[in-house]
């Protein structure tokens, strides 16, 4: 059953400690759990392993935890928007495990679905394959990749009902629904909590079984690269 809280601080109460493995939803700054990240920054917990496609920017999103030296290791596909990361990596303060984006997504999906490992063609003949089991199926080589399961998943939804069912909006969905399935405890922040029955049962993206803690908040939703065209 989901528990509903007033804010990020309450929703994280009793959960945070050093050395946790945390999954954080979002792609770039789109669909990131900005309040939970900020609260983890305030808590000051250290030696975190963060699984997230990206690492925010220097002054927003997961970049805040980097700046505060709380992250020991990142499991990501792309961290190019972040100078703090590059500095800490070159100073050997932080470890990185780069995963091809599709491998990362499938490792999370598999972890949440109780699948310990799977075979996949991405990265054969590259450094991604190093140290991993290679197996041939139908004459083609595949790499064995492991499922991922974290201590905590922090995710961002658009709307949730009071039962904990969640829907996302447009490309802010990204890694959020799969991460919701792949942790011992999933905490969701949403823009609006509605009454049970107000969400269309046929269009729930994350069923309530995956959501343990929930709160509503107003989101900044910063745009990373604003591009527009002029109406002609």
């Amino acid at each position: 059953m989901v528990n509903i809280y007033n804010n990020a601080k309450e929703a994280l109460n009793g959960l945070l400690k050093d050395d946790l493995m945390i999954m954080a939803g979002g792609f770039g700054l789109c669909g990131i759990p900005e309040h939970l990240i900020e609260e983890i920054r305030v808590s000051g917990t250290k030696n975190l392993t963060i699984i997230s496609n990206n690492c925010g920017v220097d002054d927003f999103g997961l970049g805040l935890l980097l700046k505060n030296h709380q992250i020991k290791k990142m499991i990501s596909s792309y961290v190019g928007e972040n100078k703090t990361f590059e500095q800490q990596y070159l100073n050997k303060e932080i470890e990185i495990e780069f995963n091809p984006q599709g491998v990362l997504a499938e490792r999370i999906r598999a972890g949440g679905a109780g699948i310990p490992a799977f075979y996949n063609k991405t990265g054969v003949g590259t450094i991604v394959a190093e140290g991993k089991e290679i197996r041939e199926f139908d004459g083609k080589k595949y790499i064995m990749e492991r499922g991922l399961f974290a201590d905590i998943a922090i995710i961002k939804g658009w709307k949730a009902d009071k039962a904990g069912n969640i829907i996302y909006r447009k490309t802010a969905r990204n890694f959020n629904p799969i991460m919701a399935t792949a942790a011992k405890i999933t905490i969701a922040e949403v823009e609006e909590i509605v009454e049970i029955g107000e969400l269309d049962h046929d269009n729930i993206h994350t069923p309530s079984i995956y959501v343990h803690r929930l709160f509503e908040a107003k989101h900044e939703k910063r745009i990373e690269r604003l591009l527009t065209r002029i109406k002609s």
């Binding site: 792609f27 991405t122 590259t126 490309t171 065209r229």
Partner: protein, 211 residues
């Protein structure tokens, strides 16, 4: 005269886009190929962060922070657009459902090896979705400058940078020429030369063997 970026994009669209194709365009120059979709055909653009049927940049004042492409740029939706999560997005890629991808490159080898994600000691950004795309999309096309900024060839016998994919490139379009790499014979062939560029100039600027 070497092809301009615009001419390269126009050529790529004309040569590669087929009616009904599902296409993934990489960040940078490949993204601009979408501006040259031939009028008589319709294609659907895949964005690996979870969208099919990607629309153009939004009108001023209509940008939506919940609607971006894989380059984190604001975009718009089309009547036929659909959204899905990252695992579903890469199931489309891995399952071989995407017809074509066009990507940039740092180096390409004569056998079709591609290096485009890292320069050891220099660039620590990550591969994003590039490795998944080149390993699994039916047709892989590379667009790049023929030589690096310092004039050294980018079409090589073997890539010196860490690979994104092995023997995965079907075609390379540079500002000087277009080459095909046959996946079975592993032989690179010169297909087209930009106007007034000589074959001698191309040979001088290419380390890879080609026919």
């Amino acid at each position: 005269m070497a092809w301009t970026k615009e001419e390269m994009c126009e050529l790529a669209a004309k040569e590669e886009f087929k009616d009904g194709f599902f296409i993934n365009l990489g960040i940078g120059m490949p993204t601009d190929v979408a501006n040259y979709i031939p009028q008589n055909i319709s294609v659907s653009l895949h964005s690996e962060n979870g969208m099919l049927g990607m629309g153009p940049f939004p009108y001023e004042g209509e940008a939506d922070p919940d609607l971006i492409n894989a380059g984190k740029q604001t975009i718009s939706e089309l009547p036929e657009s659909s959204y899905f999560d990252s695992a579903a997005s890469f199931a489309m890629v891995r399952g071989g459902h995407i017809d074509l991808t066009i990507l940039g490159a740092l180096q390409v080898s004569e056998h079709g090896d591609l290096a485009n994600w890292t320069i050891p000691g220099k660039m620590v950004k990550g591969m994003g979705g590039a490795m998944d795309l080149v390993a699994n999309v039916r047709r892989v096309v590379v667009m790049m400058e023929h030589t690096a900024k310092d004039g050294t060839p980018k079409l090589l016998k073997n890539c010196s940078f860490p690979l994104t994919g092995k023997e995965c490139v079907d075609r390379v379009i540079t500002d000087l020429a277009m080459f095909d790499i046959n996946r079975d014979t592993k032989i690179m062939k010169l297909i087209k030369i930009s106007p007034n560029v000589t074959i001698e100039e191309i040979r001088a600027k290419t380390e890879a063997y080609f026919e």
